[in-house]
Symmetry: C2
Subunit: 341 residues, 2 copies
């Protein structure tokens, strides 16, 4: 399974050249890239061996070689040096992300935009959602005689709101009753506990004169559910059309990305803080020709959400991976800092 040094060099050179040009790499053009004093025939023998072992593929007999997903995998795990970000790249990321952004969702939108731009791929991220998120605040802002805007704020900084219609007039007494119930039963609780069963119980305790607030409680349940769930944010879907190797699949891929529940599960599925799935390593058919890179960001030291990238398998991993890692760390730091203020 392991490769001797020469084969490693050849594999790395093929991948790097292929990533650059997009064309199958032939033995002659490899000679120039490699420092070894060998003939093309020897390279050919080695390349044939690498095909045999599954690290390379041959589009057709008389074509050069193209890395297989196994080849990319070996390269990423063993051969690739992760380039440090240079100042320009680092500054580009930092300048695009406002430091004083207090809303995780907007911050992630920004992060997605940067990532989609610098990679020319589709960026995808999920808003913070982890075990044990608490309800920090619930507010009701009357905006009409019977309608109110409900706002929920979680311990991870997630804000959700919804306009909701009460069963009757929102008199000061009704508002007070609402706040009493909320602060007694919900504030400080875990957001996952706000089940409809729990709300039934709460509703049962509401005295007859304040039954008008029941729709508001239902509204609270809605926004609590919305806040406890990770939202999926996408950016740069149309970038996928810029990659020749994806062109046939691009539409199907974009269709796939629209189903956010599935995507959300996919992003959360990896155990590691950083994960790459190359081509056929992906469980979904629609991603068979794509790479998926997922990194998790920490809030208060706890893995809370993900930032990911979807593109063709032909990616400059050595460049992209450090960028994603840096961006992910940065986002985590900014959100954490925003919460501590």
């Amino acid at each position: 399974m392991d490769l001797n040094e020469r084969r490693q060099k050849i594999l790395a050179a093929i991948i790097e050249q292929y990533v650059k040009t997009g064309e199958p790499v032939g033995s002659k053009s490899l000679l120039e890239a490699l420092q070894l004093s060998l003939s093309s025939a020897t390279i050919r023998n080695e390349m044939a061996e690498l095909v045999e072992m599954g690290y390379l593929e041959q589009p057709h007999t008389s074509a050069g070689r193209v890395p297989s997903h196994k080849g990319y995998r070996y390269y990423i795990d063993n051969l690739m040096g992760e380039n440090e970000l240079n100042d320009v790249q680092r500054r580009r990321i930092e300048q695009s992300i406002p430091k004083n952004m207090h809303e995780p969702e907007r911050l992630l939108e920004q992060a997605n935009e940067v990532l989609a731009n610098i990679t020319n791929c589709t960026a995808v991220s999920t808003t913070p959602a982890c075990e044990g998120v608490l309800i920090r605040k619930i507010e009701m802002i009357p905006i009409g005689s019977r309608t109110a805007m409900l706002v929920i704020l979680t311990s991870t900084g997630i804000l959700k709101s919804e306009v909701c219609r009460a069963g009757g007039e929102l008199t000061p007494a009704v508002c007070e009753a609402f706040y009493n119930i909320i602060s007694r039963t919900l504030i400080g609780r875990r957001i996952d506990d706000v089940s409809s069963a729990m709300l039934q119980t709460i509703a049962a305790t509401v005295s007859d004169e304040f039954l008008t607030i029941l729709p508001l409680l239902a509204g609270v349940a809605d926004i609590a559910a919305a806040a406890s769930q990770a939202d999926v944010l996408l950016e740069g879907q149309s970038n996928l059309f810029n990659h020749r190797e994806l062109e046939e699949n691009a539409l199907e891929l974009i269709e796939f990305l629209k189903k956010s529940e599935r995507l959300s599960r996919l992003l959360a599925s990896g155990k590691a803080k950083f994960d790459i799935k190359i081509g056929e390593e992906n469980e979904y058919r629609q991603l068979k020709n794509s790479s998926l890179i997922v990194a998790k960001y920490n809030i208060k030291g706890k893995e809370s959400g993900t930032i990911g990238l979807i593109g063709p398998t032909r990616l400059n991993y050595a460049q992209l991976i450090p960028s994603i890692k840096y961006l992910t760390d940065l986002v985590g730091r900014i959100i954490t800092q925003g919460l501590e203020e």
Copy 2:
């Protein structure tokens, strides 16, 4: 400039067949569609005349005819009967749009989704923004010792919020001072009047002990600006790739749609309640192969925003136009109704 009855019939038949098949229409296949007892030669003579007059185009000498933008224009203005929506279509629209939606933005997102789905084009809409919008409410919800969420609500039902950091602790006294200033100077005013100049004036009246609220006032200016401006909502961009005639332009077109200021101006530019721009009638080069259909929706009887459609020029106008009109009216009614409660 006007066409005799026979030419009108021929033009209409060509357009309808072309819209259906996407293939240039030849004289023979037209014979079957037309009820006239004529020979193909006569049809050919007439078609040649219609080309001469600019209503049709010929991809190459030995091909059938394709409608020009002038042809579509004549068809829409004079020949096309607007199909009434049948029950299925009407129900499809109604069921996709929740009646009790209190937030215009979410309602429009829904509307866009329906429209993009039923037309297989890109839907675009703008949130309500018209002259004389008033500030109905401003709220500050403290979410940390020094940070607060600011919320603004306009007379058209637009809600905007932003998290903002104050210059110091948000003590009850500070909050009270903030509300005093706001209700004295902003509530009930026209939202366009909240200029930075006005805020300067207001800021000058703040007593020294409450200078900490100045950043909050800046935040209010931000959300006021955001609320006074029409947002552009897009849906179904990738649908453009499904139209063969757009394939070359699709990426460029999507890029064009990303610039929301320009798009917003474009949508607002039409004077009429309903407007169609076909192909070259569009002022932007990027829309040269596309049709843009824009309808305005009324809130409280006043034109307040737009719902539009972008697709190829080859559209089933007779079907689409009634759908858009119906959808637009429905959206206007629901928003208006939501405000009256």
